[in-house]
Amino acid sequence: MNNLLKIENLNAGYGGIHVLFDVNLDCTRGEAVAIVGPNGSGKTTLLNSIFRLADIFSGSVILDGTEMQKEKSHKVTGRGVGYLRQEGNVFPGLTVEENLKMGAFNLPKGEVGERMEEVLSLVKPVVPFLRRTAGTLSGGEREMVALAVSLMCRPKLLLLDEPTSGLSPIASAQIAELIKNLKDKTRLSMLIIEQNLKILFDVVDKCYLLVSGRIIFSGGPGELQCDKELMRTYLGLA
Amino acid sequence: MSGQWFLFSVDLLALFGIYLALNLSLRLQLGYTGIANFGLVLAFTGGAYVGGWLPIRLGMWLVEVDPSLADDMIWNNVIIASQVDLSLHGSPGTAMTILLITLLAAGAAGALLGLQSGYPAVRLGGDYLAISLLAFGEVLAIIGNNYDPVVGGPLGVRIPDVWAWAGDWRFMAASLANCALALGVWLYLDSIEKSPMGRMLRAIRDNPDAASSLGKNVARVRLNVMVTGGIICGLAGAMYTLYTTGVAPSALSRFDWTFLPWVMVVFGGSGSNVGVLIGTFTFILVQKLIISYKFALSFLPFDPVWLQFLLMGLVLILVLNFRPSGLVTEKASYALSRREMAKAAGKESL
């Protein structure tokens, strides 16, 4: 089994609201998978359900052979999952260094310093802000810090929720560059939600198109790009 | 024995009426509008102080009393009250005039107190508002307990009995009057339920921003609701004072007149009149029974009154755990009947 993450017949939502319907998805080691789809189609809920931040009604989320739907939220990181959330992804009142330390909360205390050096070598642009309070950073800088923080837990699988949303083209390109770099240098698997498809087309190995809580397409990014009908209808790319 | 039961039921009825009015006022604020008023005791105390201050002065003015007694109203209040009582025995007209004027004044006091506690309600939300109203609620108690001229300090004053003319039926008359107040409030809330007003209040409760974007003046509606709630509490406070013919600031506690109503309303369900009624009746009955059977429980090495606190706390925790919206849940209702709506929409039926 080379599958790192396998999601089977997942039905999930929040309280009484059903968001995801029978979602199936898998991600092998070292693969970058994109989840695309219009606003409100349930992409974030999908990532949240891996962390049990959304309620799972039925189906299973299997990471490396372990059923995650029975795990408590705070144990998921320890299983090797890093999560870059779309909003609220840094602690604004803490310094960047403290943010990074907090990101390594599940690691043994002795390894934190070592891991921080590793991460900083992967996300070099963060180094100059280490002493600054995260709340005072600009959007792009903050996103970069958040990416570094999500790497601190030595993840096998990294979940990225719209890492370039709300950023200037230059900052977006910088983030995309970092992500590509990560993929090349480490055997990290990634699950990426992105609206700005063009940026990621050359990073991603596989795409899932999620519309109204259902997967309606899966395949390589080239296939999706070729399918003009799908591109037009659901992604708003005229 | 039957006499004892009669007194028990009459007192039960009296308390029930007062609490039902008070709880319905909380329902208007919490259930409809979403204002967590933890300062119910404020307007209630305001009404009670008016009830303690005004009738005795009205009485002195309307009936013959030794004028030298007026030198020290507080010191002489028992003598004055009993002299006024004697006159009121034979003149229900005077008594009812005193009652009406007192109620008017108590309503006005309640409205004023509601208005001033409404000021933070417009700016604050959630638990900060709750804490702020809780603090407001303490203010009158502190003043009443320390400033004798209001209602005689912590021990309070006795006031003339406006129900004295009913003789043996005095308690019955007062209880029925309390229930009449509750009935009036009930009917008023029911008419809100069955009008566009109820709909708008719930809209403001559920999403103030959206309601505001649809042209509802949220701040003013909240203020109006606080004032209306204050009036009801003020009336209840005055009626309670007139029923017990006395008022003691130390007895107007946060526990009895804020927390207890909250327990009743949360237990029964703040979204429904019937729920509030069930909650009120249950807890009043339990309270009365515990007090009545106090002597039967005298083998306990403590005052059985505390059992009531214990019971209330436990019930509330259970309700919040297993049925947070209360025993009776809110139902979506319409201003018009289904038949009227079908007719308006030009359909056979809905």
Partner: protein, 299 residues
């Protein structure tokens, strides 16, 4: 001078009481109305221990700390957490703590009645001033109260700034969901802060009867003042309660003395209005509190 010392002592006790409220609100977003009763339990631990085991009440400070930490922890685990886990609103959680406070009022009073009826202790009104020692010409309570408050605030500050646990607690207060995503166990961290808060209240309760009259409703009657300390101090910084305790304590005891010497003794009974007025003014005009205001001016 006596009232100055009184004010200083009272301030420290207020600070200790407010400390817990602030901590609980900061880390778990709950205003704990039952905190007043936890303070009372501290006083009754002191009463029970000094009555049955002799020694000075100071001797039982650790015991009061532990008992109250335990009680506060149980309140959180059994009362608050199950309902919070269901996504209850802050108002509903406030109602939960009211329910708990009702239960605790009952238990405290039953216990006080029991002590009085069975052991003939004067459990409804007690004062331990006779146990106190003197140091540098002042009552020991003054030193003890300030030592407790300072030790608590400083050690908490050190833990927050220099340990991993402290980092997690700060993270939890800022972005709870993100803290979970990073592997922090929110439940045990919350439990820890409730216990610590209870412990602080226990210290305050144990020390209170050294100088002031105690009765079963002592904490209940002071809860609004505690809220004033917590909100006036500001919940963002843990030195807030210390600061607010000082201001309010002095205003309530020393300030009212000064005021009465100007306008006459008629104002003294209204000293309890001061915290209420301060609380209401803070909420209206300085919502971030004293410490937030100071922090803002600086940064």
């Amino acid at each position: 001078m006596a009232s100055f010392i009184d004010a200083l002592t009272y301030s420290a006790l207020l600070g200790l009481m407010g400390f817990g409220l602030t901590l609980i609100r900061r880390t778990t977003g709950v205003w704990n109305v039952a905190h007043g009763e936890v303070v009372t339990i501290g006083s009754y631990v002191a009463l029970t221990a000094t009555s049955f085991l002799a020694h000075s009440p100071y001797f039982y400070l650790p015991l009061a700390f532990l008992v109250c930490a335990g009680v506060s922890g149980i309140i959180f685990l059994a009362g608050v957490e199950p309902i919070r886990a269901k996504g209850a609103s802050s108002i509903l959680l406030l109602v939960v703590t009211i329910a708990i406070s009702l239960i605790m009022i009952a238990v405290i009073n039953i216990y006080a009645d029991y002590l009085q009826n069975v052991f003939h202790l004067s459990s409804k009104n007690f004062l331990f001033a006779r146990f106190d020692f003197t140091l540098l010409g002042q009552m020991g309570i003054l030193w003890a109260a300030w030592a407790a408050l300072a030790a608590l605030t400083i050690s908490y500050y050190l833990v927050l700034q220099h340990t991993r646990l402290g980092l997690a607690l700060r993270a939890l207060a800022e972005q709870p969901t993100l803290a979970v995503v990073m592997g922090a166990n929110v439940k045990s961290l919350s439990l820890l802060s409730w216990c610590l808060a209870g412990g602080a209240a226990g210290l305050a309760g144990c020390l209170f009867p050294m100088r002031f009259q105690c009765h079963p409703g002592v904490g209940t009657s002071m809860i609004a003042t505690m809220f004033a300390v917590s909100i006036f101090g500001g919940i963002e910084k843990m030195y807030g309660p210390l600061l607010a305790g000082l201001v309010l304590g002095f205003a309530q005891i020393y300030g009212i003395d000064l005021l009465s010497s100007w306008v006459g003794p008629g104002v003294i009974p209204f000293k309890d209005l001061i915290p209420m007025i301060v609380l209401l003014l803070t909420l209206q005009f300085l919502p971030e509190g004293l410490s937030g205001f100071v922090g803002r001016r600086r940064g």
